[in-house]
Symmetry: C2
Subunit: 535 residues, 2 copies
């Protein structure tokens, strides 16, 4: 690798290792999603040497960055948000070319990315993530005195982040994983997704400029583009990395989980992998508004070419004329749906073969397909089967990443329950119900809550609000770790660990636990939460 | 297996699967720790059939138990505490025979076990573990309305608990893992430790009586005694088990981690495994009070035959006359120390071979040994080496489970830092310092906090307070998961997961998220924590 002086405006095709722009002998190109044409410039293809350099810097940055006071760290997150906003139309244009996603969607995603950084800035300022807890000494307690015990949550260490292709901004270089890891005080090394390296580099330069402007150690953030699996493996295997955030395919997530578990020191992997997001069409709702449900379903299924983790890929209803009418209406909408460009030729090819393979399985029929389109476009698909086939063949519940879903006809409510029980973990589960359906729904909600991180009524699962109550997670295999979320303020907890200090002299205590409370934190004293003092 | 009517008073030698006392064709015996004599009665040796029955019951109990209101669940934990207290001297007598631990220690441990259940009862009543969070709908928000989003934490599912031999009450059948899992709303299946099956059964009967008295589903608690690894493997592999709590050897913990990771659905294992708990003797402290430190050290090292996870097994100081004087004084105290009976003949044999193997390593000398004793007794040991040997051979930092420690002489403060950097994760790290040592200590505390779950000053790590601020955990390999603690109220979080409910009709919402707040919880509304309303 060779280093050059850096700049923050243009796409140069380098890795960003701390302050340095780094080129490599091997390079790769981005591809225009709609045309398949190679885009300029050539990008550095980072490897083991760049991983070593970035991780060494991240480790060097950890002691100071992990102890930054809430104001400094929050200001940095806001500076990163502002720097991304300052990239202006150049970012959107590049992202449109690299991903095939439309302008409005990418502008919305940029807003979400910036808003997410600001939300974490506010969270950091609140100091609640410290969970400062003090159990004062009881010198006269019998039979033994109690020592002075003080606990805080502190950053785990440097974190590796793997961006997703389907959200080139909100789940990529400065997406939810990066924002929550930085908020926790963890330096971040991003493995850039090779499907949007220009978009990634622009965002990386923005984050880096915020690191510099905030006077932080340059190792707080590095960006390693590259198409090879070896790059990701080397990053997760590096002993200085203490946790991994990943959004992508199940195969990719499982591979990183294996690398992390095989390390001399295993580390947590937060992989958000895949789901079919079951949607239950309960009888009264189907009877009352089957046609509207069909329209809403196809809109949710085909939005963004169906390339959402929360895409509604599995519909479940009770067989009968109402379900047939729903299928008819949904099929008509599918046939009329405009084909969208998919993110990459590879994703489109995998989508086509997934649909074709599903259509070949016993008991599965193709109810409708959308119109064919140009090289990047993918026609939507609605397949249909009966629950007995799904119960006999769990592969019918596998994700077809893209605008395709399967409608499952059950014989009765009991069979709905059996289908739910047969499912693996999901990101979401949705009920469409009318008041008459409530008794059945009341029995189903607890079953769905065991299977999914989010349970919805009378809506569609696409659209993940960034807020306090959100859970974008769910039991395996939807994610590697159903105890967490990758969206919303709770995501910060993934990158923290508790440490207890016993009988330390004041001068040796970390700031948030000192008796004079210099960070003005709400703290739990002897079990009672004391509110945040005035500043 | 065959089932009999049950009772709660005497030791019958059965497994307890829900309400049933279950015998098996294979049996095993407890052994008197001091004499090696077999004790009556014979105990059921549970296997795959008993695992299946207990897990089926635990799964059946989950829906109702996980939704018990805080008062009901807290009352149950208090009933379990009372039932354990009601076992009276019979419990202590049996535990003394099975473990060789003295009466006062076991009575203290019983108090701690009961107090721990009561602490979790109070925690459950507070409802804080629910983390109820509501982001109300914003129907008029532009460009898109915000749905109503409500999040709570809910029990993971049935939990397998593996008790430790060294704390037959506080880290066993109704110890911290069981108490925190039950507090979270998880049914528990305990794999009883074969070194104290009578003690375990008495406690299990007490917990079961509390389940019945509280009107809970009988599957909330089962107890499977048995000496085989196959029993533990079958339990962790059972698809209904959703998390594992374990305290014991590193080999045992790693084996369970492998079983859990290889399941079709991997699950978290919270294994608290081993540590040498480094103690740093800083220069001014050593100069001012070396003799007192030596006495304190040997007391902590030999207490309970050194069979504590937090035993101070690695002392570090700067070479010189003060360190020699410390070694001299500690050696004298070691030679005078009374040998204690160890928990099992196997543990004693492993202790002796660990000490012998350590003494054979290059650069290691035996500074002192305690007097020999009867068949169960283990003589304490103090070994000595120089830091350069330890840095060359990491096996010098391996735990010798029992009353043995190694004193490491460093050349200077820089070498202390290198020794700390070379260590794996620890449960605790201790500094002995005088005011003059503070500049050095200030540089060391952050390094120690990255290595250990608890950092102490001027004390000894044995003695783990059960409270809010405690962290009994630490980075791998001290535990399998450095993001948690197995002691203190924070331990409940290991057995919870977040679930978000979007736009659910009131009647379908779980109790803690309903708008009328029937559980009277403190809840976070739109990001602001609203205090607990009056009841």
């Amino acid at each position: 690798m060779s280093k050059q002086p850096h700049g923050n405006a243009a796409i140069r095709g380098t890795a960003l290792i701390g302050e340095a722009d780094v080129t490599t002998s091997e390079t790769f190109r981005a591809v225009d999603a709609a045309t398949g044409a190679a885009l300029d410039p050539a990008f550095a293809s980072a490897g083991a040497g760049e991983v070593e350099a970035a991780c060494a810097l991240a480790e060097a940055a950890f002691p100071s960055f992990s102890e930054t006071d809430p104001g400094t760290r929050a200001d940095f997150l806001e500076a990163a948000a502002a720097a991304i906003a300052d990239l202006g139309p150049a970012l959107i244009e590049r992202a449109m070319a690299e991903t095939g996603l439309p302008q409005a969607r990418l502008e919305g995603e940029r807003g979400r990315t910036i808003g997410q950084l600001r939300l974490f800035a506010n969270l950091v300022r609140s100091g609640e993530w410290v969970q400062a807890t003090i159990d004062p000494a009881q010198h006269k307690r019998q039979p033994l005195p109690r020592p002075d015990l003080r606990r805080r949550h502190v950053a785990l260490g440097p974190v590796a982040v793997f961006g997703a292709s389907n959200f080139p901004l909100a789940f990529s270089v400065a997406g939810g994983d990066t924002a929550s890891a930085l908020a926790a005080g963890c330096p971040v090394v991003v493995k850039g997704h090779p499907a949007h390296p220009g978009t990634g580099e622009l965002v990386a330069r923005a984050v880096r400029s915020a690191v510099a402007a905030s006077g932080l150690h340059a190792g707080v953030f590095s960006y390693l583009p590259g198409p090879s699996n070896a790059l990701g493996t080397a990053l997760v295997a590096d002993p200085r990395i203490k946790a991994v955030g990943f959004t992508g395919s199940r195969g990719g997530g499982l591979a990183l989980m294996r690398v992390a578990a095989a390390r001399p020191e295993p580390i947590p992997v937060y992989a958000e992998m895949s789901a079919v997001n079951p949607v239950l069409l309960l009888p009264a709702a189907l009877r009352a508004r089957g046609a509207a449900l069909a329209t809403g379903f196809v809109q949710s299924l085909t939005m963004g070419a169906g390339q959402f983790c929360t895409n509604p890929g599995l519909l479940i209803g009770i067989a009968g004329p109402e379900l047939d009418a729903f299928a008819e209406a949904a099929g008509a909408a599918i046939r009329e749906s405009a084909p969208h460009t998919m993110l990459t030729a590879d994703i489109r090819a995998r989508f086509e073969s997934a649909v074709a393979a599903m259509a070949e399985r016993p008991g599965v029929t193709v109810a409708a397909r959308g119109a064919k389109a140009g090289p990047g476009g993918a026609p939507a698909a609605l397949l249909r089967t009966e629950a007995r086939h799904l119960l006999a063949d769990p592969s019918l519940t596998e994700e077809m990443f893209g605008p395709a879903g399967i409608l499952v006809a059950t014989t009765d409510a009991a069979e709905i329950t059996r289908v739910i029980a047969s499912l693996g973990g999901q990101l979401t589960a949705t009920l469409h119900l009318d008041p008459e359906d409530e008794p059945l729904a009341a029995a189903l909600v607890p079953l769905l809550a065991r299977k999914a991180g989010r349970v919805l009524a009378n809506g569609w699962p696409t659209g993940v609000e960034v807020c306090h109550a959100m859970v974008h997670g769910g039991p395996f295999p939807a994610t590697s770790d159903g105890r967490t979320t990758s969206v919303g303020t709770l995501a910060i907890e993934r990158f923290l660990r508790p440490v207890c200090y016993q009988d330390l002299p004041e001068a040796l205590l970390p700031q948030p636990l000192r008796s004079d409370n210099p960070w003005h934190l709400a703290r739990r004293i002897d079990g009672v939460l004391e509110p945040q003092p005035g500043r």
